[in-house]
């Protein structure tokens, strides 16, 4: 087994996880903020909808996504009409799938973190001349750090490990949609246990090496934060 067999899917996986997590944070921040503060009657419905991607098995979710995103499907047609990229068996498609599948893991911790912020300090910031956006970035985000970290870790790790959705709408195209988790899965399926152990070990070690400093960094600021 040569290095590129690990390296290519690894790079792809990291890219997918990074893009997905970044997009999810961007998308979920306003959503979570709204959910944390609204008094709308529709809030429980929206919250339930956010949680729904979780309850379907990933490959089934992938199947429905496939139906929607295929060139013949509603979203696929829309994308084609707008001159967008092909959404199945392509990287953009994987991103869409992962976005949907990891949504709850990012949205919910964010919402919790935002909801537990006291309004006192934001009010103080407002009287000091901070606009709502300014308040969000200068007060709410730093104070919600713990929740944002959790959202990021859960979103990133879940995208790393996900393969049901990815396999279905991605199709395991080397270098394009064949992520590390698919490579591991396939190794097991093809009885190449040695390779599977190696790949799984790599992912675990890498994740561990990534997570420990992140958590350590968070911890070192904790004293100041409390």
């Amino acid at each position: 087994m040569n290095v590129s067999e690990i390296w290519i899917p690894l790079a792809l996986t990291l890219k997918l996880a990074a893009v997905t997590t970044a997009l999810l944070l961007l998308l979920c921040a306003p959503l979570a903020w709204w959910l944390a503060h609204t008094r709308s009657r529709f809030k429980p419905f929206l919250e339930a909808i956010v949680a729904l991607p979780l309850v379907l098995p990933p490959s089934v979710l992938g199947f429905y996504l496939l139906v929607c995103l295929a060139p013949s499907g509603p979203i696929g047609q829309l994308s084609a009409a707008l001159g967008g990229p092909a959404l199945v068996f392509s990287f953009p498609g994987l991103v869409i799938g992962s976005l949907l599948y990891s949504l709850p893991f990012v949205a919910q911790p964010l919402q919790n973190a935002f909801a537990s912020l006291s309004s006192e300090q934001r009010e103080a910031a407002a009287t000091l001349g901070a606009s709502p956006l300014d308040r969000f970035f200068s007060i709410a985000l730093p104070q919600a750090k713990g929740g944002i970290l959790t959202a990021t870790v859960l979103g990133f790790a879940h995208t790393l490990g996900e393969f049901g959705v990815v396999l279905m709408i991605g199709g395991s195209i080397p270098g394009e949609t064949r992520t590390l988790s698919i490579a591991i899965y396939e190794s097991v399926e093809m009885l190449e246990y040695g390779k599977a152990h190696l790949l799984a070990g790599t992912v675990l070690a890498l994740s561990f090496l990534l997570l420990v400093p992140i958590y350590a960094l968070n911890r070192s600021n904790r004293f100041f934060q409390r």
Binding site: E120, Q121, A124, T127, D134, S138, I139
Partner: protein, 354 residues
């Protein structure tokens, strides 16, 4: 400049309905009992109560008008909250800088000066959550000033501050208000503090404004039926310092008064407080005593005050002075309207202090 507002707000059982015109170029005190709605009124004016109805006009700007509310960050206020509300994720210095960065045009007081005035220089690198109660409140005051506000809202800013610091901070607040011309709304339950700092006052009771006038009038003893200490607020016309004795001679509405100069702000204060209980009465002048101020006066009326005490309203050269004396003395001195007396005021009691 002027602030006019007409506000309505419901919060559970509590209903605020406050309408007033205030001069917005000086300090206005807001007094009233716990739960009267003082904090709520400030919050409405600051735009923090989203459901407040009515109107707020500050100078030329409409802060609240039917259907339109100016966002809080556009109302150039400096707000010192009853609970300091410091930013926990920032150090003290960063808290000040936060305000400074967002302050608009206009001449700025240097941060060092602000820190010095509020005595927080040694705390600048600290985390707000490690501060003591009094330290926190001083940082909150400093932060509000750092934002270079057009108007300061202060909600009991000195309640956690010890006596020495309080009296010094009061001095400094007074100086800041005056020399930097920052008008302020000042909520306090300390009437003496109110009298000392403000020229105008509002009294709130159960969500309504029950008086709105110059401080002297709002805090007038006969207006205040709540058992708190009655006092007179006497206008000062001019001042003559006697440096060798550390005294100042004030020309006031009730005649000349000798006061310890150290107890006066550097600027000429507009008025001086004289507590009713600090005023004694005598039928004759008393040369051989330590009582320097002996003011010729006429009894205007005598009010019941408590089981043992009466409040005597005196006329002195057209000014009004209140004396709180025992019923026994009143009988002994035959106090009654028109009776000429001397009001005895120890000069040392004349400190404009909380």
């Amino acid at each position: 400049m002027k602030i006019s507002f007409d506000l309505q707000l419901r919060k559970g059982d509590f209903y605020l309905a406050a309408k007033a015109d205030l001069p917005a170029d000086s300090v206005t005190a807001i007094v009233g009992h716990s739960g009267a709605g003082k904090s709520t009124l400030l919050r409405c004016l600051a735009g923090l109560e989203k459901t407040a109805l009515g109107s707020i006009q500050v100078g030329e700007e409409a802060w609240l008008k039917e259907g339109h509310s100016l966002a809080p960050h556009f109302r150039r206020i400096g707000y010192v909250f009853q609970h300091a509300a410091l930013f926990h994720h920032l150090s003290v210095a960063q808290n000040l800088n936060y305000a400074r960065k967002r302050s608009l045009d206009g001449e700025l007081f240097p941060l060092e000066e602000i820190a010095q005035v509020t005595r927080i220089q040694h705390l600048l690198e600290r985390n707000p959550q490690s501060l003591s109660g009094g330290e926190r409140q001083r940082v909150a005051i400093a932060r509000a000033i750092a934002s270079n506000p057009q108007i300061l809202f202060l909600d009991e800013p000195l309640s956690a501050v010890d006596e020495t610091a309080r009296s010094q901070l009061l001095d400094e607040l007074e100086r800041i208000f005056r020399s930097f011309q920052i008008p302020a709304l000042y909520v306090t339950h300390n009437l003496v503090e109110a009298a000392r700092l403000s020229s105008h006052a509002l009294r709130l009771e159960n969500g309504r404004i029950t008086s709105n006038a110059v401080t002297r009038q709002v805090l007038t003893p006969t207006q205040i039926a709540d058992g708190s200490d009655p006092f007179s607020i006497v206008e000062i016309r001019s001042r003559r310092d006697l440096p060798e004795e550390g005294l100042a001679e004030l020309d006031t509405a009730i005649g000349p008064l000798l006061v310890s100069a150290a107890n006066l702000p550097r600027e000429l204060p507009k008025c001086i407080l004289i507590r009713g209980r600090d005023v004694g009465l005598s039928l004759s002048l008393l040369p051989e005593t330590s009582i320097l101020n002996q003011i010729s006066a006429t009894v205007r009326s005598v009010h019941e005050h408590s089981a043992s005490q009466v409040l005597v309203q005196l006329s002195c050269q057209g000014g009004t002075l209140y004396a709180l004396v025992t019923r026994r003395s009143a009988q002994r001195l035959l106090l009654a309207p028109q009776r000429p007396v001397y009001a005895l005021v120890k000069s040392v009691t004349l400190q404009a202090e909380a």
